[in-house]
Symmetry: C2
Subunit: 260 residues, 2 copies
Protein backbone atom coordinates (compact mmCIF):
# COMPACT_ATOMS: atom_id res chain seq x y z
CA UNK A 1 0.00 0.00 0.00
CA UNK A 2 1.13 3.44 -0.87
CA UNK A 3 2.30 5.82 1.81
CA UNK A 4 0.28 9.01 2.13
CA UNK A 5 1.65 11.59 4.51
CA UNK A 6 -1.06 12.70 6.91
CA UNK A 7 0.92 14.00 9.89
CA UNK A 8 1.90 17.62 10.29
CA UNK A 9 4.94 16.33 12.18
CA UNK A 10 6.33 14.56 9.13
CA UNK A 11 9.89 15.89 8.58
CA UNK A 12 9.22 16.97 4.97
CA UNK A 13 6.08 18.88 6.00
CA UNK A 14 7.98 20.54 8.83
CA UNK A 15 10.80 21.49 6.47
CA UNK A 16 8.31 22.96 3.97
CA UNK A 17 6.71 25.09 6.66
CA UNK A 18 10.02 26.31 8.06
CA UNK A 19 11.18 27.34 4.59
CA UNK A 20 7.86 29.01 3.92
CA UNK A 21 7.93 31.20 7.00
CA UNK A 22 11.58 32.02 7.66
CA UNK A 23 14.21 33.78 5.61
CA UNK A 24 16.86 32.52 8.02
CA UNK A 25 15.87 28.90 7.43
CA UNK A 26 15.87 29.48 3.66
CA UNK A 27 19.41 30.84 3.81
CA UNK A 28 20.68 28.07 6.04
CA UNK A 29 19.23 25.24 3.98
CA UNK A 30 19.78 26.97 0.62
CA UNK A 31 16.22 26.01 -0.23
CA UNK A 32 12.90 27.78 -0.88
CA UNK A 33 9.32 26.71 -1.54
CA UNK A 34 6.72 27.36 -4.17
CA UNK A 35 3.14 26.33 -4.82
CA UNK A 36 1.11 25.71 -7.99
CA UNK A 37 1.31 23.73 -11.22
CA UNK A 38 2.58 26.39 -13.65
CA UNK A 39 5.38 27.67 -11.45
CA UNK A 40 6.44 24.12 -10.53
CA UNK A 41 6.75 23.39 -14.26
CA UNK A 42 8.88 26.52 -14.66
CA UNK A 43 11.07 25.48 -11.74
CA UNK A 44 11.66 22.03 -13.21
CA UNK A 45 13.22 23.59 -16.30
CA UNK A 46 15.89 25.22 -14.13
CA UNK A 47 19.29 23.69 -13.48
CA UNK A 48 18.91 24.14 -9.76
CA UNK A 49 15.48 22.55 -9.86
CA UNK A 50 13.12 20.86 -7.46
CA UNK A 51 14.38 18.66 -4.64
CA UNK A 52 10.99 17.62 -3.17
CA UNK A 53 7.61 17.61 -4.89
CA UNK A 54 4.50 17.25 -2.73
CA UNK A 55 1.08 16.62 -4.25
CA UNK A 56 -2.22 16.08 -2.53
CA UNK A 57 -4.36 13.01 -3.11
CA UNK A 58 -6.77 15.16 -5.13
CA UNK A 59 -4.08 16.77 -7.27
CA UNK A 60 -2.23 13.57 -8.11
CA UNK A 61 -4.09 12.72 -11.27
CA UNK A 62 -3.84 16.09 -12.99
CA UNK A 63 -0.18 16.36 -11.95
CA UNK A 64 0.79 13.11 -13.68
CA UNK A 65 3.05 14.70 -16.30
CA UNK A 66 4.68 16.94 -13.70
CA UNK A 67 5.36 13.96 -11.44
CA UNK A 68 6.95 12.07 -14.33
CA UNK A 69 9.21 14.99 -15.23
CA UNK A 70 10.15 15.54 -11.58
CA UNK A 71 10.98 11.86 -11.15
CA UNK A 72 13.21 11.98 -14.26
CA UNK A 73 15.08 14.84 -12.62
CA UNK A 74 15.54 12.94 -9.37
CA UNK A 75 13.15 14.98 -7.24
CA UNK A 76 11.77 13.14 -4.20
CA UNK A 77 8.03 12.74 -4.59
CA UNK A 78 5.46 12.62 -1.78
CA UNK A 79 1.70 12.27 -1.72
CA UNK A 80 0.08 14.15 1.14
CA UNK A 81 -3.48 14.25 2.45
CA UNK A 82 -5.78 17.01 1.21
CA UNK A 83 -6.02 18.28 4.79
CA UNK A 84 -2.24 18.72 5.00
CA UNK A 85 -2.32 20.45 1.61
CA UNK A 86 -4.81 23.01 2.90
CA UNK A 87 -2.70 23.41 6.01
CA UNK A 88 0.58 24.23 4.27
CA UNK A 89 -0.97 26.25 1.44
CA UNK A 90 -0.53 30.00 1.42
CA UNK A 91 -3.54 30.54 -0.84
CA UNK A 92 -7.26 30.27 -0.20
CA UNK A 93 -7.92 27.61 -2.81
CA UNK A 94 -4.85 25.46 -3.26
CA UNK A 95 -4.04 23.46 -6.38
CA UNK A 96 -2.45 20.89 -4.09
CA UNK A 97 1.01 21.09 -5.68
CA UNK A 98 4.02 22.13 -3.59
CA UNK A 99 7.74 22.07 -4.23
CA UNK A 100 10.95 22.57 -2.33
CA UNK A 101 13.63 24.02 -4.62
CA UNK A 102 17.32 24.79 -4.43
CA UNK A 103 18.22 28.47 -4.27
CA UNK A 104 20.30 28.88 -7.44
CA UNK A 105 23.81 30.23 -7.19
CA UNK A 106 22.98 33.61 -8.69
CA UNK A 107 24.96 34.59 -11.71
CA UNK A 108 26.65 37.91 -11.75
CA UNK A 109 24.89 40.23 -14.14
CA UNK A 110 26.78 40.85 -17.36
CA UNK A 111 26.59 44.52 -18.25
CA UNK A 112 26.30 45.21 -21.95
CA UNK A 113 26.73 48.37 -23.98
CA UNK A 114 23.00 49.10 -24.30
CA UNK A 115 21.82 47.03 -21.34
CA UNK A 116 18.96 48.25 -19.17
CA UNK A 117 19.06 47.43 -15.44
CA UNK A 118 16.92 48.10 -12.40
CA UNK A 119 18.24 48.41 -8.84
CA UNK A 120 15.65 47.81 -6.11
CA UNK A 121 17.11 49.68 -3.15
CA UNK A 122 15.23 49.14 0.12
CA UNK A 123 12.05 47.87 -1.52
CA UNK A 124 10.13 46.02 1.19
CA UNK A 125 6.81 44.74 -0.13
CA UNK A 126 6.96 41.17 -1.53
CA UNK A 127 3.96 41.77 -3.82
CA UNK A 128 5.65 44.81 -5.34
CA UNK A 129 8.91 42.94 -5.83
CA UNK A 130 7.11 40.07 -7.53
CA UNK A 131 5.20 42.40 -9.83
CA UNK A 132 8.40 44.26 -10.77
CA UNK A 133 10.18 41.00 -11.62
CA UNK A 134 7.21 39.87 -13.73
CA UNK A 135 7.14 43.19 -15.56
CA UNK A 136 10.93 43.21 -16.07
CA UNK A 137 10.62 39.81 -17.72
CA UNK A 138 7.73 40.90 -19.95
CA UNK A 139 9.47 44.09 -21.07
CA UNK A 140 12.89 42.51 -21.53
CA UNK A 141 14.92 44.26 -18.82
CA UNK A 142 18.48 42.88 -18.87
CA UNK A 143 18.93 42.46 -15.12
CA UNK A 144 17.71 43.33 -11.65
CA UNK A 145 19.92 44.03 -8.66
CA UNK A 146 18.38 43.80 -5.18
CA UNK A 147 19.99 45.84 -2.43
CA UNK A 148 18.64 46.02 1.11
CA UNK A 149 15.29 44.81 -0.20
CA UNK A 150 12.95 42.05 0.95
CA UNK A 151 13.91 38.42 0.47
CA UNK A 152 13.66 37.27 -3.15
CA UNK A 153 12.67 33.80 -1.89
CA UNK A 154 9.77 34.98 0.24
CA UNK A 155 6.84 32.81 -0.98
CA UNK A 156 4.79 35.94 -1.79
CA UNK A 157 7.54 37.23 -4.08
CA UNK A 158 7.87 33.87 -5.80
CA UNK A 159 4.11 33.57 -6.28
CA UNK A 160 3.59 37.04 -7.68
CA UNK A 161 6.43 36.70 -10.21
CA UNK A 162 4.29 34.06 -11.99
CA UNK A 163 7.42 32.13 -12.90
CA UNK A 164 9.39 35.16 -14.11
CA UNK A 165 11.81 34.66 -11.21
CA UNK A 166 13.22 31.77 -13.24
CA UNK A 167 13.55 33.75 -16.46
CA UNK A 168 15.05 37.01 -15.20
CA UNK A 169 18.66 37.74 -14.31
CA UNK A 170 18.65 38.79 -10.68
CA UNK A 171 21.55 39.38 -8.33
CA UNK A 172 21.71 40.49 -4.71
CA UNK A 173 24.26 43.06 -3.53
CA UNK A 174 23.47 44.47 -0.12
CA UNK A 175 26.72 46.40 0.27
CA UNK A 176 26.26 49.93 -1.11
CA UNK A 177 29.96 50.46 -1.89
CA UNK A 178 30.22 47.23 -3.81
CA UNK A 179 26.94 48.02 -5.59
CA UNK A 180 28.20 51.33 -6.94
CA UNK A 181 31.58 49.79 -7.83
CA UNK A 182 29.79 47.05 -9.75
CA UNK A 183 27.71 49.57 -11.71
CA UNK A 184 30.74 51.73 -12.42
CA UNK A 185 32.82 48.79 -13.62
CA UNK A 186 29.90 47.70 -15.78
CA UNK A 187 29.85 51.11 -17.44
CA UNK A 188 26.27 51.88 -16.35
CA UNK A 189 24.97 55.43 -16.08
CA UNK A 190 22.98 55.56 -12.83
CA UNK A 191 19.65 57.33 -12.34
CA UNK A 192 17.69 57.72 -9.10
CA UNK A 193 13.93 57.69 -9.54
CA UNK A 194 12.56 60.35 -7.19
CA UNK A 195 9.40 62.34 -6.52
CA UNK A 196 10.68 65.83 -7.22
CA UNK A 197 9.33 68.28 -9.76
CA UNK A 198 12.87 69.59 -10.31
CA UNK A 199 14.24 66.22 -11.38
CA UNK A 200 14.49 65.37 -15.09
CA UNK A 201 11.21 64.08 -16.56
CA UNK A 202 11.44 60.55 -17.91
CA UNK A 203 9.69 61.97 -20.99
CA UNK A 204 12.70 64.04 -21.92
CA UNK A 205 15.75 62.74 -20.03
CA UNK A 206 16.71 60.26 -22.76
CA UNK A 207 18.09 56.80 -22.07
CA UNK A 208 21.13 55.92 -24.14
CA UNK A 209 23.85 53.36 -23.60
CA UNK A 210 24.07 51.24 -20.47
CA UNK A 211 21.50 52.45 -17.90
CA UNK A 212 20.76 51.48 -14.30
CA UNK A 213 17.73 53.02 -12.59
CA UNK A 214 17.32 52.92 -8.79
CA UNK A 215 13.84 52.38 -7.31
CA UNK A 216 13.50 53.08 -3.58
CA UNK A 217 11.38 52.12 -0.61
CA UNK A 218 7.56 52.23 -0.84
CA UNK A 219 7.16 54.71 1.98
CA UNK A 220 10.32 56.76 2.06
CA UNK A 221 11.79 56.48 -1.45
CA UNK A 222 15.55 56.49 -1.91
CA UNK A 223 17.84 57.78 0.87
CA UNK A 224 19.14 61.21 -0.05
CA UNK A 225 22.78 60.09 -0.09
CA UNK A 226 21.88 57.41 -2.64
CA UNK A 227 19.95 59.71 -4.98
CA UNK A 228 22.79 62.26 -4.76
CA UNK A 229 25.34 59.60 -5.54
CA UNK A 230 23.57 58.61 -8.77
CA UNK A 231 24.60 60.34 -11.99
CA UNK A 232 21.17 61.93 -12.33
CA UNK A 233 17.71 62.12 -10.78
CA UNK A 234 14.66 61.31 -12.87
CA UNK A 235 10.93 61.54 -12.18
CA UNK A 236 7.55 60.56 -13.60
CA UNK A 237 5.56 63.76 -14.16
CA UNK A 238 2.32 63.54 -12.21
CA UNK A 239 -1.01 65.17 -11.68
CA UNK A 240 -1.08 67.92 -9.06
CA UNK A 241 -3.53 66.22 -6.74
CA UNK A 242 -1.44 63.21 -5.84
CA UNK A 243 2.24 62.81 -5.31
CA UNK A 244 2.86 59.14 -5.51
CA UNK A 245 2.35 56.11 -7.69
CA UNK A 246 2.62 52.64 -6.22
CA UNK A 247 6.31 51.63 -6.30
CA UNK A 248 5.73 48.69 -8.63
CA UNK A 249 3.70 50.84 -11.01
CA UNK A 250 6.37 53.55 -11.05
CA UNK A 251 9.02 50.91 -11.73
CA UNK A 252 6.86 49.48 -14.53
CA UNK A 253 6.46 52.83 -16.29
CA UNK A 254 10.20 53.50 -15.99
CA UNK A 255 11.06 50.05 -17.35
CA UNK A 256 8.67 50.69 -20.24
CA UNK A 257 10.49 53.92 -21.10
CA UNK A 258 13.89 52.24 -20.65
CA UNK A 259 13.09 49.50 -23.13
CA UNK A 260 10.88 51.04 -25.79
CA UNK B 1 -18.97 58.28 32.15
CA UNK B 2 -18.33 57.93 28.47
CA UNK B 3 -19.81 55.06 26.51
CA UNK B 4 -17.29 52.76 24.90
CA UNK B 5 -18.71 50.12 22.58
CA UNK B 6 -17.37 46.72 23.54
CA UNK B 7 -19.99 44.35 22.14
CA UNK B 8 -19.77 42.79 18.71
CA UNK B 9 -23.58 42.81 18.73
CA UNK B 10 -23.78 46.59 18.84
CA UNK B 11 -25.90 47.70 15.84
CA UNK B 12 -23.23 50.04 14.46
CA UNK B 13 -20.59 47.30 14.62
CA UNK B 14 -22.97 44.88 12.95
CA UNK B 15 -23.73 47.42 10.23
CA UNK B 16 -20.00 48.03 9.65
CA UNK B 17 -19.35 44.32 9.25
CA UNK B 18 -22.31 43.78 6.93
CA UNK B 19 -21.15 46.63 4.69
CA UNK B 20 -17.61 45.35 4.77
CA UNK B 21 -18.46 41.85 3.59
CA UNK B 22 -21.45 42.20 1.26
CA UNK B 23 -21.93 44.07 -1.99
CA UNK B 24 -25.68 43.48 -1.67
CA UNK B 25 -25.80 45.19 1.72
CA UNK B 26 -23.73 48.11 0.38
CA UNK B 27 -26.18 48.61 -2.48
CA UNK B 28 -29.24 48.36 -0.27
CA UNK B 29 -27.99 50.80 2.35
CA UNK B 30 -26.19 53.07 -0.13
CA UNK B 31 -23.22 52.96 2.24
CA UNK B 32 -19.67 51.61 2.23
CA UNK B 33 -16.84 51.38 4.74
CA UNK B 34 -13.22 52.41 4.88
CA UNK B 35 -10.37 52.17 7.33
CA UNK B 36 -7.38 54.38 8.15
CA UNK B 37 -6.56 57.98 8.98
CA UNK B 38 -5.48 59.32 5.58
CA UNK B 39 -8.40 57.92 3.63
CA UNK B 40 -10.91 59.03 6.30
CA UNK B 41 -9.53 62.56 5.93
CA UNK B 42 -9.99 62.31 2.16
CA UNK B 43 -13.56 61.05 2.59
CA UNK B 44 -14.43 63.96 4.89
CA UNK B 45 -13.60 66.40 2.10
CA UNK B 46 -16.27 64.82 -0.10
CA UNK B 47 -19.83 66.06 -0.33
CA UNK B 48 -21.22 62.61 0.29
CA UNK B 49 -19.00 62.24 3.33
CA UNK B 50 -18.85 60.14 6.45
CA UNK B 51 -22.00 59.15 8.33
CA UNK B 52 -20.37 57.19 11.19
CA UNK B 53 -16.81 57.47 12.47
CA UNK B 54 -15.51 54.74 14.79
CA UNK B 55 -12.21 55.11 16.65
CA UNK B 56 -10.61 52.75 19.11
CA UNK B 57 -9.63 53.81 22.62
CA UNK B 58 -5.97 53.75 21.55
CA UNK B 59 -6.54 55.79 18.39
CA UNK B 60 -8.67 58.51 19.98
CA UNK B 61 -5.88 60.87 20.91
CA UNK B 62 -4.09 60.94 17.55
CA UNK B 63 -7.46 61.23 15.76
CA UNK B 64 -8.44 64.39 17.63
CA UNK B 65 -8.43 66.68 14.59
CA UNK B 66 -10.28 64.13 12.47
CA UNK B 67 -12.94 63.75 15.17
CA UNK B 68 -13.40 67.50 15.33
CA UNK B 69 -13.81 67.79 11.56
CA UNK B 70 -16.19 64.82 11.45
CA UNK B 71 -18.28 66.33 14.23
CA UNK B 72 -18.50 69.64 12.36
CA UNK B 73 -19.86 67.70 9.39
CA UNK B 74 -22.50 65.93 11.51
CA UNK B 75 -20.95 62.48 11.44
CA UNK B 76 -21.97 60.25 14.34
CA UNK B 77 -18.91 59.44 16.43
CA UNK B 78 -18.29 56.27 18.43
CA UNK B 79 -15.43 55.08 20.58
CA UNK B 80 -14.92 51.32 20.44
CA UNK B 81 -12.70 48.96 22.39
CA UNK B 82 -9.33 48.02 20.94
CA UNK B 83 -10.50 44.41 20.79
CA UNK B 84 -13.46 45.35 18.61
CA UNK B 85 -11.13 47.41 16.42
CA UNK B 86 -8.95 44.39 15.79
CA UNK B 87 -12.06 42.34 15.13
CA UNK B 88 -13.55 44.56 12.43
CA UNK B 89 -10.23 45.57 10.85
CA UNK B 90 -9.32 44.13 7.48
CA UNK B 91 -5.59 44.76 7.98
CA UNK B 92 -3.02 43.05 10.17
CA UNK B 93 -2.08 46.13 12.14
CA UNK B 94 -5.03 48.48 12.36
CA UNK B 95 -4.78 52.22 12.94
CA UNK B 96 -8.07 51.95 14.84
CA UNK B 97 -9.97 54.37 12.61
CA UNK B 98 -13.08 53.22 10.73
CA UNK B 99 -15.77 55.07 8.81
CA UNK B 100 -19.12 54.37 7.24
CA UNK B 101 -19.62 56.60 4.19
CA UNK B 102 -22.43 57.36 1.78
CA UNK B 103 -22.00 55.98 -1.73
CA UNK B 104 -21.95 59.16 -3.82
CA UNK B 105 -24.42 59.57 -6.65
CA UNK B 106 -21.89 59.10 -9.42
CA UNK B 107 -21.62 61.90 -11.90
CA UNK B 108 -21.85 61.09 -15.53
CA UNK B 109 -18.46 61.48 -17.17
CA UNK B 110 -18.18 64.56 -19.35
CA UNK B 111 -16.36 63.68 -22.54
CA UNK B 112 -14.03 66.37 -23.84
CA UNK B 113 -12.29 66.85 -27.15
CA UNK B 114 -8.92 65.55 -25.99
CA UNK B 115 -10.15 63.55 -23.00
CA UNK B 116 -8.52 60.24 -22.12
CA UNK B 117 -10.74 57.52 -20.64
CA UNK B 118 -10.32 53.94 -19.46
CA UNK B 119 -13.03 51.28 -19.57
CA UNK B 120 -12.53 48.37 -17.16
CA UNK B 121 -14.53 45.60 -18.79
CA UNK B 122 -14.84 42.45 -16.67
CA UNK B 123 -11.90 43.27 -14.39
CA UNK B 124 -12.34 41.14 -11.27
CA UNK B 125 -9.47 41.66 -8.85
CA UNK B 126 -10.11 44.39 -6.26
CA UNK B 127 -6.38 45.04 -5.78
CA UNK B 128 -5.93 45.58 -9.52
CA UNK B 129 -8.93 47.90 -9.68
CA UNK B 130 -7.62 49.94 -6.76
CA UNK B 131 -4.17 50.23 -8.29
CA UNK B 132 -5.61 51.31 -11.65
CA UNK B 133 -7.71 54.02 -9.99
CA UNK B 134 -4.69 55.26 -8.03
CA UNK B 135 -2.59 55.34 -11.20
CA UNK B 136 -5.35 57.06 -13.21
CA UNK B 137 -5.45 59.79 -10.57
CA UNK B 138 -1.66 60.20 -10.56
CA UNK B 139 -1.41 60.37 -14.35
CA UNK B 140 -4.46 62.61 -14.83
CA UNK B 141 -6.82 60.28 -16.70
CA UNK B 142 -10.11 62.12 -17.30
CA UNK B 143 -12.47 59.33 -16.33
CA UNK B 144 -12.93 55.63 -15.67
CA UNK B 145 -15.95 53.56 -16.68
CA UNK B 146 -16.53 50.23 -14.93
CA UNK B 147 -18.49 47.62 -16.83
CA UNK B 148 -19.11 44.11 -15.49
CA UNK B 149 -16.19 44.58 -13.12
CA UNK B 150 -15.83 43.99 -9.39
CA UNK B 151 -17.58 46.28 -6.92
CA UNK B 152 -15.97 49.70 -6.63
CA UNK B 153 -16.95 49.79 -2.95
CA UNK B 154 -15.31 46.52 -2.03
CA UNK B 155 -13.09 47.46 0.97
CA UNK B 156 -10.00 46.11 -0.84
CA UNK B 157 -10.62 48.39 -3.81
CA UNK B 158 -11.14 51.40 -1.54
CA UNK B 159 -8.01 50.63 0.47
CA UNK B 160 -5.75 50.15 -2.51
CA UNK B 161 -6.85 53.39 -4.20
CA UNK B 162 -5.14 55.27 -1.34
CA UNK B 163 -7.85 57.95 -1.47
CA UNK B 164 -7.81 58.32 -5.26
CA UNK B 165 -11.35 56.93 -5.37
CA UNK B 166 -12.44 60.36 -4.10
CA UNK B 167 -10.46 62.31 -6.66
CA UNK B 168 -11.18 60.39 -9.85
CA UNK B 169 -14.27 60.55 -12.04
CA UNK B 170 -15.69 57.07 -12.11
CA UNK B 171 -18.97 55.83 -13.50
CA UNK B 172 -20.54 52.40 -13.70
CA UNK B 173 -22.29 51.17 -16.85
CA UNK B 174 -22.90 47.44 -16.87
CA UNK B 175 -25.02 47.41 -20.03
CA UNK B 176 -22.78 46.91 -23.06
CA UNK B 177 -25.16 48.58 -25.54
CA UNK B 178 -25.50 51.68 -23.37
CA UNK B 179 -21.73 51.70 -22.81
CA UNK B 180 -20.94 51.83 -26.53
CA UNK B 181 -23.72 54.40 -27.12
CA UNK B 182 -22.26 56.57 -24.35
CA UNK B 183 -18.78 56.41 -25.87
CA UNK B 184 -20.10 57.12 -29.34
CA UNK B 185 -22.16 60.09 -28.19
CA UNK B 186 -19.11 61.36 -26.31
CA UNK B 187 -17.10 61.29 -29.53
CA UNK B 188 -14.54 58.82 -28.16
CA UNK B 189 -12.43 56.64 -30.41
CA UNK B 190 -12.41 53.18 -28.80
CA UNK B 191 -9.40 50.87 -28.54
CA UNK B 192 -9.32 47.33 -27.16
CA UNK B 193 -6.10 46.43 -25.37
CA UNK B 194 -5.27 42.87 -26.37
CA UNK B 195 -2.41 40.38 -26.34
CA UNK B 196 -1.91 39.89 -30.05
CA UNK B 197 1.25 40.51 -32.02
CA UNK B 198 -0.85 41.62 -34.99
CA UNK B 199 -2.55 44.44 -33.10
CA UNK B 200 -1.17 48.00 -33.34
CA UNK B 201 1.75 48.64 -30.97
CA UNK B 202 1.04 51.38 -28.43
CA UNK B 203 4.45 52.75 -29.44
CA UNK B 204 3.21 53.66 -32.87
CA UNK B 205 -0.60 53.69 -32.88
CA UNK B 206 -0.85 57.37 -31.89
CA UNK B 207 -3.47 58.74 -29.51
CA UNK B 208 -5.18 61.87 -30.75
CA UNK B 209 -8.50 63.42 -29.83
CA UNK B 210 -10.94 61.78 -27.45
CA UNK B 211 -9.75 58.25 -26.60
CA UNK B 212 -11.28 55.40 -24.61
CA UNK B 213 -9.20 52.27 -24.03
CA UNK B 214 -10.79 49.00 -22.89
CA UNK B 215 -8.94 46.81 -20.36
CA UNK B 216 -10.28 43.26 -19.94
CA UNK B 217 -10.40 40.48 -17.42
CA UNK B 218 -7.19 39.30 -15.66
CA UNK B 219 -7.46 35.74 -16.91
CA UNK B 220 -9.31 35.87 -20.20
CA UNK B 221 -8.82 39.43 -21.48
CA UNK B 222 -11.61 41.10 -23.46
CA UNK B 223 -14.37 39.01 -25.04
CA UNK B 224 -13.79 38.75 -28.78
CA UNK B 225 -17.08 40.51 -29.64
CA UNK B 226 -15.97 43.49 -27.52
CA UNK B 227 -12.50 43.80 -29.02
CA UNK B 228 -14.01 43.49 -32.52
CA UNK B 229 -16.55 46.16 -31.75
CA UNK B 230 -13.86 48.68 -30.75
CA UNK B 231 -12.49 50.99 -33.45
CA UNK B 232 -9.05 49.42 -33.15
CA UNK B 233 -7.01 46.86 -31.24
CA UNK B 234 -3.78 47.90 -29.52
CA UNK B 235 -1.08 45.97 -27.70
CA UNK B 236 2.00 46.43 -25.52
CA UNK B 237 4.95 44.85 -27.34
CA UNK B 238 6.50 42.22 -25.10
CA UNK B 239 9.45 39.94 -24.69
CA UNK B 240 9.13 36.55 -26.36
CA UNK B 241 9.40 34.49 -23.18
CA UNK B 242 6.24 35.72 -21.49
CA UNK B 243 2.89 36.70 -22.89
CA UNK B 244 1.24 38.67 -20.15
CA UNK B 245 1.71 41.62 -17.87
CA UNK B 246 -0.42 41.95 -14.75
CA UNK B 247 -3.67 43.72 -15.79
CA UNK B 248 -3.04 46.72 -13.54
CA UNK B 249 0.50 47.10 -14.88
CA UNK B 250 -0.70 46.88 -18.48
CA UNK B 251 -3.37 49.49 -17.74
CA UNK B 252 -0.75 51.72 -16.10
CA UNK B 253 1.58 51.60 -19.11
CA UNK B 254 -1.33 52.34 -21.47
CA UNK B 255 -2.50 55.27 -19.31
CA UNK B 256 1.06 56.59 -19.30
CA UNK B 257 1.12 56.53 -23.12
CA UNK B 258 -2.38 58.06 -23.30
CA UNK B 259 -1.42 61.03 -21.15
CA UNK B 260 2.19 61.81 -21.98
Amino acid sequence: MENIITSKDNPVIKLYQKLSSSKKERSEYGLFVLEGMRIAEDALKEDSGITHLLVTVSAREKAEELLLQADLRNAKIFVISNELGSRISSTGTTQGIFAICRIPVRRQIQFTENGRYIVLYGLQDPGNMGMIIRTADALGIDGLILSGSCDLYNPKVIRSTMGSVFRTRIMIENDTERLFALLKNGGAETAASVIDKNAESINSCGFTGCQAVFIGNEGSGLPKEISQRCDRRITIPMNGTINSLNAAMAAGIIMWELKK
